[in-house]
Assembly symmetry: none
Homo-oligomer: 172 residues x 4
DNA sequence: TATGAATGAGTATTCATTCAT
DNA sequence: GATGAATGAATACTCATTCAT
């Protein structure tokens, strides 16, 4: 693996597990087995390193939700939304944990990131004849995000049973 | 206001807004207009200051959920649970934002804090004849927590309309 | 025991065992079970506390060596000098350890403290016909001081046998 | 001179003259004309700096006493022992003063450091027919150490005359 | 006499960052 | 591209000391 990537991976892991502020550049350098100076040559400063990691987040979110956006069958939209959190692989958990954690860091939180999914869901609930489509959409997103968090934090929730439960509830 | 309290309030505000790690004791001292040393006289160390703040969290959580625990009518249990987040006052938002934020700080997260509410909710859903009471309870808690977060972060969600939506949905 | 004395004893013990610089006034206050402020009311500052302890040292040295100064029989002078270190009681070891330790603290070292004993010894060696009385006196003082240190530091030297050895060597 | 060495020399001088506890890392940095941070880059912490200095002490002690250990003529062993303290150069006085001072710092005192010399001396006194060889050896070491201290502290003792006195006394 | 709250200067150590090589 | 020496500002925390009560 090229040195720049080694830094990126080490930083991701540390940021996700210990937090951005609690992770020193020296710790990152040690974990990546490179000199501390190299971090700054590649990413200008610590913030730049974080941003490099997060740029990818946009891509991954897009990638996961693209099939949902393209879907026309409303039932299928709900089903895909519910299934979304179950698709992320174990090796990506660090990444997602970091993304969720950063929601609480005002400097890095982009609250409208999921709006395009919200709109698609609202539209789908409308098509399915739900009375209050907007709030239904909000509620589903909240639940899906909560499961995502449960999954990447390995909190002990029986996620499989919960998925089936949601499928039945929304009849999808 | 006595100096010890001034420290407590200043720290709460800063921890909630900037994060525990990102808040230096010198910043706290300046905000509280006391000498930095006094923080350590009163709270031993930075962690001790945080813990002093969090000790109260247990009390407040208990206080908010006590009426729910005591309630026997299952419909009323759901209603009170949904209403809970709407009861916190603006001046407490800092406090709650800190509590939620710390869920992401492994050192301070107590994941079972809400179990007693979960049990009460499960029981209530059972009484009301819901098929999958456990998952229903989990889902409601997830949603209620999500609204709480929306409220204390002032995220622009129309919380009042959402409350009515939940009342109707659960017919309470 | 009166509070002032409690401070004196606690400070002596701590200074002797951990060193003057390494002993904080707060540690002393805790050990003496008094408020930290009281130390300063009684002794003005930390240095004053040390000086109060050391004032006594002059007295004790005087007390120990007075019989030697008064002695006229030169053999007896040597004998008493050799015996001197063996007279200090266990409860005084802290005190003497502190005195010896402070020889290495330039601020508190008084190198001429023992000159009056040196003169008496020189005179005695002269009377006994030793060729180089001054150096004999110096040597004996060095040895006696070394045993004193061994005793108060409990270094494992067989001090009793060494005393007999000196008695024989100097034929006293 | 390389920066690491500048730190080492400045620290040695300050530790020797003011004591380990009384010497702050900031004082050392100023004396060495380097940034305070560099001390920790090179020596991890203050204790590490002291230990780096002391590691050399072992070497120097070994170096000074090696000829004595190798010597077979018992008279020559005594002579070399007596001469040992006179060999250290003025520029090393700081170093030796620190070594002696640390004997009083429980954390750094190694009381058996000189045992190998003690054994050699005992053996020599035995060969020379002294009755109580062990105590003779102890006594000579005590005296030699006392002169060493006198020398490095420049206490005004006429060390040259004292050396001659010892040569005569032990007939070497 | 005695306390305990309070302080400001100081402590060892860590940090993100720079720079010559 | 990559290192490692170096820095200065910041960090959590301790210290001797003051002072109102």
């Amino acid at each position: 693996m090229i040195r720049k990537e080694k830094i990126l991976f080490a930083a991701l892991k540390l940021f996700a597990n210990e937090g951005y502020d609690a992770t020193s550049t020296s710790k990152i350098a040690k974990a990546a087995q490179v000199s501390e100076g190299l971090i700054f040559r590649h990413f200008t400063n610590k913030k730049g390193l974080l941003e490099a990691i997060l740029t990818e987040s946009e891509k991954r979110v897009q990638q996961i939700f693209q099939p949902i956006i393209n879907e026309t069958d409303p039932k299928q939209v709900l089903r895909l939304t519910i299934e979304a959190p179950y698709q992320s692989k174990k090796k990506d958990f660090d990444f997602w944990r970091l993304v969720f954690k950063l929601k609480w860091d005002t400097n890095y939180n982009n609250p409208n990131k999921m709006n395009f999914v919200l709109e698609k869901l609202t539209e789908s609930f409308q098509k399915l004849g739900y009375k209050n489509a907007t709030n239904e959409a909000i509620m589903l997103i909240q639940v899906v995000e909560a499961i995502s968090i449960s999954i990447v934090r390995a909190e002990g929730l029986d996620v499989e049973s919960f998925k089936q439960f949601l499928f039945e509830k929304y009849q999808v």
